[in-house]
Amino acid sequence: MNLARALSCLGLLLCACSAPIDLETTSDVDRGRRYDESEEFRREALIASLENPSNGYSRLRRERYVPDQWQALPIWNPRIRVVSEDDIAGAKSASDFASLEIESVPWEEGPLLELGRRAFYEYPVQLMPFTAVALTDVDAPEHYGLWRGEGRLGGLVWTALPGDAVSLSVTCSTCHATLREGQLLTGKNNAQLDIGSMASDFRGDAANRVWGPGRLDVTNDESDNPAAIPDLRPVRYQQQLQRAATVKNDLIALAIRTETLIITSLGETVRPPRKLTFALALFLWRLPAVPARLPDESSKAGAHSFEQHCASCHRPPSYSGPPVALELIGTDPLVGASSERGTGAYRVPSLRGVGDRRPLFASGSVRDLDELLDPKRTAAGHPFGLDLGSLQRADLLHFLETL
């Protein structure tokens, strides 16, 4: 180790023990390393990120994101094999399983981003054996909304388990990637994915089919409140994570959100390596911007309507903003009022890339921007911009598509 490296390590060590971190001068990677190494730093970041300390999501984390509980769980980096077209209606191979290489990845931006990309597509975040129904014949993947691309099928992975067992698992990319015109769009919500139907058909009943494609009920609140799978591409612009504004967003908050999501999704039995969860968060933070329409005269005119009708909540340059009370926004309140994740408000989603976002609203009840601004829309709530004339509405739509 050279002197500069040694001093750098010493600095990190001192930083981890005492002084508050300077967000202006510390790099994202240095913050990630501190997240990995400092229990105190992680705990403070978690507490600071919880919007409503008393909901179930926050209480569970405040109680268990501590050294003798979740931090003491065994680190899990199982051997996996990517599911591909060859797995359809065929026997899987018991060989060629391998774990992600994590230890040797240096704490540098480029290698961490590559680790994050691999983890996004290959790290199992929940065991879902019932996804086997999507591999029964050549039409099944499309029927259930699984994408195919880059030699992968729906982001599913075979996961090796104790006792020589193997399970199908989902990865981040199962829900948050979509194939369009032959190109895999990383981060884009998979609006065709029908997890409810997969579960129902595996068991031979109709219980979860009601969720419909692109939606999933993730809360243990005994309320039937499935939420639309979000588009992660604008995540760095969101002031809050989760539809119900449950978590105040920043890079470390996203890493902790990802880490604790994986812990709970795996039944609080194991935990992911923190280098991996930070790499995942960094990868999401650096996702490229959603391609947008170029400005024209119509969109410039639409900017005026945006100022009048939208900008008080969707504030430039992030086009996000503080959460808005459920009674004020007036949309279906079930997700925002959940005892599990609710805050009494909905987050104000960033409008970056909104021209390529569908469906809209937490419940996914609005198809797209056209329907959102349609005065004859039947889905309740978000009444802003509904009284525009047809020309003004067209201009506003064009402006939104430039963001």
Partner: protein
């Protein structure tokens, strides 16, 4: 051990309104795509066909976890036979004085019984009551955890 071929055939009670949502069948006779088809449902879930997926374990010709056990009448909302994960189907499969139990997965009752597993001395719970006693799992249940190969208390947590 083989499952029988009998299934209940009560009136499914599906709405007759042709515009009613989520109604994929109205009578058992509509369910002809598999064995022993029955139309089942309710006002919340809608109506759909259910079939017997298996009668013996060998009908579940899957891999190590997704399809080992043919659970007779094991459907979560109906009495159809389904293939499930697991390492046992009766207590005798778990050795002398052993016992075999159904387990939910990590999504709890959202996705129904995930499989049948033996209990062992390394388990941290025996039944759901063990998981509610200390108040830390208010909606807790005792479930088999494939990631560690034993039964533990669990909160319901679907990914997301």
């Amino acid at each position: 051990m083989a499952c029988d071929h009998a299934r209940a055939s009560f009136d499914p009670g599906a709405p007759t309104d042709p515009d009613a949502p989520r109604v994929d069948c109205r009578a058992h006779a509509d369910c002809t795509d598999g064995e022993n088809g029955r139309c089942v449902g309710n006002g919340h879930d809608g109506w759909g066909c259910t079939y017997d997926s298996c009668f013996v374990d060998s009908d579940c010709a899957g891999d190590a976890t997704t399809a080992r056990i043919c659970a007779c009448e094991g459907g979560s909302r109906s009495d159809n036979n389904v293939c499930l994960a697991g390492n046992c189907r009766v207590d005798a499969d778990c050795g002398s004085a052993g016992y075999c139990s159904p387990s939910f997965g990590d999504c709890g009752n959202y996705f129904g019984v995930a499989g049948y597993y033996c209990h062992t001395s390394s388990d941290e719970c025996v039944d759901d009551a063990d998981c509610k006693a200390d108040g830390t799992h208010p909606m807790g249940y005792c479930a088999f955890k494939p990631t560690v190969g034993r039964w533990q208390c669990s909160n319901l947590n679907c990914v997301g």
